[in-house]
Symmetry: C2
Subunit: 414 residues, 2 copies
């Protein structure tokens, strides 16, 4: 089964909204072994929609369309679909009943605009939307499937998970390609390529390897084609085992694993606790740690000492260190980590202090310079990094570097 | 001038990477008054690239292509373009010189893989890449422009800003459409629509209005077609002035304004300072505040009291309040805000305490319940919100709600 995605909305074409729906949908289909040919974004325009649908029906078995189903007047997908299929709109009673319930439960009146949400093209099978007011619509044409869904991500996602993916899955009988993503931290793209060159050269002919760099990380995507998903996955497992022998510390996880999840798991497994003291990362390190559900089991908290006075008052960093070495220094970041460990009563503490930019750099301490410390029961480790000029990226890379420092310690020294 | 965007990379089609490049490019072209027809993502496949180029050249004057120019072996765009234009690869000496300098400055050896980055199709004009190793490529065919750029966002962005946008701008002579985005907080899509219905109904025929909902916010995009950008923009300004009279508190900014920037500006203008005390937002509120360059001028820091003991030890929340009312309560969040204000010595302090989920909910305090407090020199305000079930969204909405509380206070009471 081959598929494509059509995303509708002027907001996508003027760059106001990033098309996260398309990547989420692609992930889901990919997990079912369905390959996506194309992802297309077009405007809220009936002609564009018609052309895109003609094209897509000529190439693919499954078309997923999002957007343009809201109650407001700029949303025209439903009318365009009626025209395309040559049908009219009909009231879908179960949807109308759901709308009445949805509005009543919130103490709102069902107005005329909302009532129109229960109208669907006569040839479609409506798909319930438990998180909003616009139902999805399942169309079939010459054995091919076209599904139109709202553009609001969590409405669309619930619809896919509960209704659409199970049905698509049962109808899919394509050949198999298995993928695995390997998450790496600590080696740039070119350096990583050198490290694993011999392994890559020896990959069998039915394999494919892609490098996907991100700030501070490179993801490797390994794909294998096979007679069954199981045989392809087995081959991939063997290759990954070999790769782990070559870059054991650089691989931190697989698929959607994040550094914060991996560190959380290691802390939990070892029954250890963590706190943080942040300057340049300004809460982002704590945010990454606490974005993991259940993190309150091992994470106690943070002092964000953005102001130097706070570094002294709340963390007890010595005035001498601040005066003699400055806030961005090995001495101060070490004192921050040790103080956090003590004040929060945790096994470990991570601290960051750096020049995130764009302003605040000096010749000795340029934008991008970041000190990180890890206080442990035995020893306090520090590291110095030189990142780039982009504030957001410097903040993210500092937080990742700190997490990775803890990860390596938990792997090696516990 | 009409344009389209072609993004190349299997990672886009399996949903591993979100196509932020496309939205950034669309924004930039849009700002020049160039309309984008389509954004297309296709795989690293020469046939797909050829078909997409043929289609795009038949429709548009300008084609921006990203991806597939890295040094690793899965990147095939350059070879596909040679085939498409029927030319060979040639060494571009200035690029080779730049590569030597780039590698030497980092103390690295220039290897054979990197040297290949200096090869470009014979018919293109190379575009310098000051942030990486792969140059961009400018092609012309029958008066139409096609530009191929690396997929790494900051390399592509610098290339666009420094070299490509100025040249495109000087060649563009299309008709004019002006847009303005209005950022709102505090009213859902349907409710906002009711509030501004009369105003919307009275918009002139050359206007268009789009609702772009996000968790907690709705952006309104207003567009007007006109003889010149100036006349269209003037008409928009008049309409926005009228709208401000209808929903003055709900509009918090325009275009790319964020709540954290707006709050930062208000604090700076009033010469006031801020600290935070976070529980359920776990550092995300501090992160939003400190993501604004220069925020250290008005933001002193935060205590992230994820653990109840920390709420007591570092913030001095009373054991009685924690015992009698629980951490997620009006009493505790109030004490947190007041303690932060005092300990950090700031004019204002914001505090959050809630059940982010997915676990931890009870019948009395379900997932999504969030208390927020704002301590000011005069009074401490509190608010209770009931968000949803999604951890990430609850964290974000809580932080936004806190920022908006401070924004409204700064607007009204100072």
């Amino acid at each position: 089964m081959t598929a494509e995605i059509i995303s509708i909305g002027d907001e996508l074409l003027i760059g106001q909204v990033v098309n996260t729906n398309a990547s989420w949908l692609a992930q889901q289909l990919h997990a079912l072994g369905i390959s996506i040919h194309r992802v297309l974004a077009i405007s809220d325009n009936p002609d564009e929609i018609r052309t895109a649908l003609d094209d897509a029906f000529s190439r693919s078995d499954l078309i997923l369309m999002t957007g343009g189903l809201g109650p407001t007047r700029d949303d025209i997908t439903k009318h365009a679909l009626c025209e395309y299929f040559g049908v009219g709109l009909v009231i879908h009673e179960p949807t109308l009943a759901w709308l009445r319930k949805f509005f009543a439960s919130r103490g709102w009146q069902l107005n005329e605009t909302n009532r129109k949400q229960a109208e669907v093209p006569a040839n479609c099978e409506p798909i319930p939307n438990h998180n909003g007011t616009a139902p999805g619509m399942w169309f079939e044409k010459n054995g091919k499937i076209m599904i139109s869904m709202p553009g609001v991500p969590f409405e669309m996602e619930a619809m896919m998970e509960n209704h659409i993916l199970p049905r698509i899955s049962s109808r899919n009988d394509s050949h198999y390609v298995a993928h695995q993503t390997i998450q790496t931290y600590g080696a740039g793209e070119s350096y990583l390529m050198e490290l694993i060159r011999d392994w890559e050269d020896a990959l069998p002919a039915n394999f494919r390897l892609a490098y996907l760099p991100q700030p501070g990380m490179v993801r490797l995507r390994i794909s294998a084609y096979g007679k069954s998903r199981e045989s392809a996955m087995e081959q991939i497992d063997r290759q990954i085992e070999a790769l782990q022998g070559i870059i054991p510390e650089i691989i931190f996880g697989y698929d959607q694993d994040t550094l914060e999840e991996v560190v959380g798991k290691l802390l939990r497994q070892n029954n250890k606790t963590l706190s943080t003291a942040e300057s340049c990362t300004g809460g982002y390190l704590a945010h990454l740690v606490t974005s993991v559900p259940g993190s309150s089991d091992y994470y106690f908290g943070s002092v964000i000492a953005y102001d130097n006075k706070i570094k002294h008052d709340l963390l007890g960093v010595s005035d001498e260190s601040l005066r003699n070495f400055g806030a961005v220094s090995q001495q101060v970041v070490r004192e921050m980590a040790e103080a956090a460990r003590k004040r929060f009563g945790t096994d470990f503490a991570l601290a960051t202090s750096g020049v995130a930019g764009p302003a605040g750099g000096t010749p000795e301490k340029p934008v991008g310079l970041v000190w990180i410390a890890l206080a442990t029961p035995e020893i306090t480790l520090t590291s110095r990094s030189m990142f780039g000029e982009h504030r957001g990226r410097n903040i993210r890379r500092s937080a990742l570097e700190a997490l990775n420092m803890l990860r390596l310690y938990l792997l090696k020294d516990l």
